[in-house]
């Protein structure tokens, strides 16, 4: 059997604290194949973002990480500094939630887009800018030449997120990690940005790990869903949205408001840590 593009095998991350450790990822395992999109959903604090940080080895040194993360068979935790940089440069691209905070405000948009190409790939600056203009055009940014000369604070959030997407596509990675890429945007920008990300990913045959609170959105643009609870994946597969089996997933899907039926109050999730541990004990 050939290796999948990305394989997480029983990944655990424990935060070292005074007087013990707090385990925040408790055995996460999944795979993403080439060209496949996996949607990772779950409540705030369930460990979704930590998982993407573990994949890029961006976790704070205060975390003790065990288990293996393999990209095309190569173990990410065991990479040396040079291999890690190369992996971050060429294999994975990260799209963050808040483009305003994640783009350096004192440099021009053009500098942000081209710095990786110019510094690490030896691309001529003019050539890099030409490629950046082409990509901005593809992600629906009008007057791209002018945008390159502007500073991030002169662009709207939606526009800046397109710039972020373009910067990731410019590096031509094999896997895109998108951590709630539309949460910080206003509603109209959200659907535009998501449509562009989905379209570009499919056109280029890239893999995607899509983190979101939006179950519908995840189901619409991903091949499979994985549901996280308290640092664990409770259920994953292509069936999750249509036919959930795990009690937490069923409750989670049942808690969404519907446009057809009027309800006074949204249901509160009754699934809690105690129920979760009980269920796990029964299963084993």
């Amino acid at each position: 059997m050939t290796d999948p593009l990305l394989r997480l095998d029983n990944v655990r991350a424990a935060l070292r604290l005074r007087g013990g450790e707090q385990e925040l990822l408790r055995g996460v395992s999944f795979t993403i194949g080439a060209g496949e999109a996996l949607g990772l959903v779950g409540e705030s604090g369930s460990g979704k973002s930590l998982t993407t940080r573990a994949i890029t080895r961006m976790l704070d040194p205060a975390f003790r990480v065990t288990g293996d993360i393999a990209f095309e068979g190569a173990s990410v935790p065991r990479m040396n500094a040079q291999a890690l940089r190369r992996y971050r440069q060429r294999d994975v691209g990260m799209i963050f939630q808040d483009p305003r905070a994640h783009v350096n405000p004192v440099h021009r948009v053009g500098d942000f887009l081209t710095e990786a190409l110019v510094r690490d790939r030896g691309v001529d600056r003019r050539d890099a800018e030409r490629r950046a203009v082409e990509l901005l055009d593809e992600v629906g940014v009008r007057t791209p030449e002018q945008r390159l000369r502007q500073y991030p604070h002169e662009l709207s959030g939606g526009l800046l997120q397109r710039v972020m997407i373009a910067s990731v596509l410019l590096a031509e990675p094999k896997l895109i990690l998108a951590d709630e890429p539309t949460t910080a945007l206003d509603v109209t920008a959200q659907s535009d940005v998501m449509a562009i990300l989905d379209e570009q990913r499919r056109a280029r045959g890239l893999s995607l790990l899509f983190i979101t609170h939006d179950l519908e959105l995840a189901a619409a643009c991903c091949d499979r869903l994985a549901v996280m609870y308290a640092g664990e994946i409770v259920e994953q597969g292509a069936h999750v949205y249509e036919a959930p089996r795990h009690p937490y997933t069923i409750e989670l899907l049942g808690a969404r408001p519907s446009i057809e039926h009027r309800v006074e109050r949204l249901p509160v999730l009754r699934y809690d840590r105690a129920a979760h541990e009980l269920l796990k004990a029964e299963a084993s």
């Binding site: 890029t56 961006m58 890690l84 940089r85 190369r86 992996y87 971050r88 440069q89 060429r90 994975v92 990260m94 963050f96 808040d98 905070a101 994640h102 783009v103 350096n104 405000p105 004192v106 440099h107 710095e115 990786a116 510094r119 690490d120 500073y151 604070h153 910067s167 590096a171």
Partner: protein, 316 residues
């Protein structure tokens, strides 16, 4: 705000500040006891006729406002006045000394910038014992007066090892550089220590920013990230402190100029105050105020280059 409008507003402010400070200095010197007569006529004093003649010659008995307005009128005509102690035009006195002070302050500013920024950056990025050591040295540097450092430098490097001259400002060029090395070092220690602390705090704050994570996750080289994304963004507080420091150095040079027997603006000012040499005191203070306002204006313009979100003349 356009650069032209900004400069016009700044110049107007400068003139107002100059008017107020000159009035205050003039008034305080007028109120202070003592008179320049003692220095003009010597320790034994003069005959009543001599005193009357000198008093009339320099208008020492005219009312305060008359003298102030006369001085202001001269200034507007480009005449800084005449020193009754040195019997020389004040502009000549200042022209002869401004070079020494300028060279001293420039050298000190260079040392402060290089040592302060690199020590602060190193402490922030290395952490551990490098940080401890830098912080301790900075604390010692901050709490030691410049004359103590000056005397220590003289006894070790000038008298003990004989590497540097003990006093004087040299005869220009490289000689001046050698003569001013120790004074500039003594002048810069406290400010370099302060700048190191500011730099350390600023670099630590900027290093934790989200956009630095973006740069790291894109696999950019660590050295490039430090230069292009961390240090570059830490510059606003660093430049603020550096600007204020340089402006105060000009006045702070007084002590060091005395320790190293340098003939600069600082020692001129101190002597002029002691001798009630009104015209000299006024002129030196005007020079200091102009330098202060000028340095601050330069810092303001620099802000807009450092951070494009800051508009010229805004209050951010």
């Amino acid at each position: 705000m356009s650069l032209g409008a900004y400069l016009a507003r700044r110049t107007g402010g400068l003139l107002l500040v100059l008017l107020v400070t000159s009035f205050l200095v003039f008034g305080l010197l007028y109120l202070a006891p003592g008179s320049p007569l003692a220095f003009i006529l010597g320790p034994r004093g003069g005959t009543p006729e001599q005193i009357a003649a000198v008093t009339a010659q320099y208008h020492l008995n005219d009312p305060f406002f008359v003298r102030y307005v006369a001085w202001l009128g001269d200034l507007l005509r480009g005449d800084l006045g005449y020193s009754i102690v040195y019997r020389q035009d004040v502009s000549d006195l200042i022209a002869g000394r401004v070079g020494t002070t300028l060279a001293l302050v420039s050298m000190a500013a260079l040392i402060i910038a290089v040592v302060g920024i690199s020590a602060g950056t190193l402490a922030a990025l290395r952490g551990g014992w490098t940080d401890q050591l830098t912080s301790s040295i900075a604390a010692i540097g901050l709490s030691t007066p410049s004359f103590v450092i000056g005397v220590a430098l003289i006894s070790v490097f000038a008298v003990g090892l004989g590497w540097f001259p003990t006093f004087g400002s040299g005869s220009g060029g490289l000689d001046t550089l050698v003569h001013l090395a120790l004074p500039a070092l003594a002048l810069s220690v406290a400010s370099a220590a302060y700048l190191a602390r500011i730099t350390r705090a600023s670099v630590l704050e900027e290093r934790g920013r989200e956009h630095v994570q973006t740069a790291t996750v894109r696999g950019l080289a660590p050295g490039y990230i430090v230069r292009h994304h961390v240090l570059r963004n830490s510059l606003v507080p660093i430049v603020t402190v550096l600007g204020l420091t340089i402006a105060t150095l000009i006045a702070g040079a007084v002590v060091v100029e005395n320790v190293f027997a340098l003939d600069g603006l600082g020692s001129l000012l101190v002597r002029a105050i002691l001798q009630r040499d009104f015209a000299v005191v006024q002129a030196v203070i005007l020079v200091l105020v102009v330098a202060f306002v000028l340095v601050n204006a330069v810092v303001d313009v620099l802000y807009t280059f450092i951070d494009p979100r800051i508009a010229l003349g805004s209050r951010k």
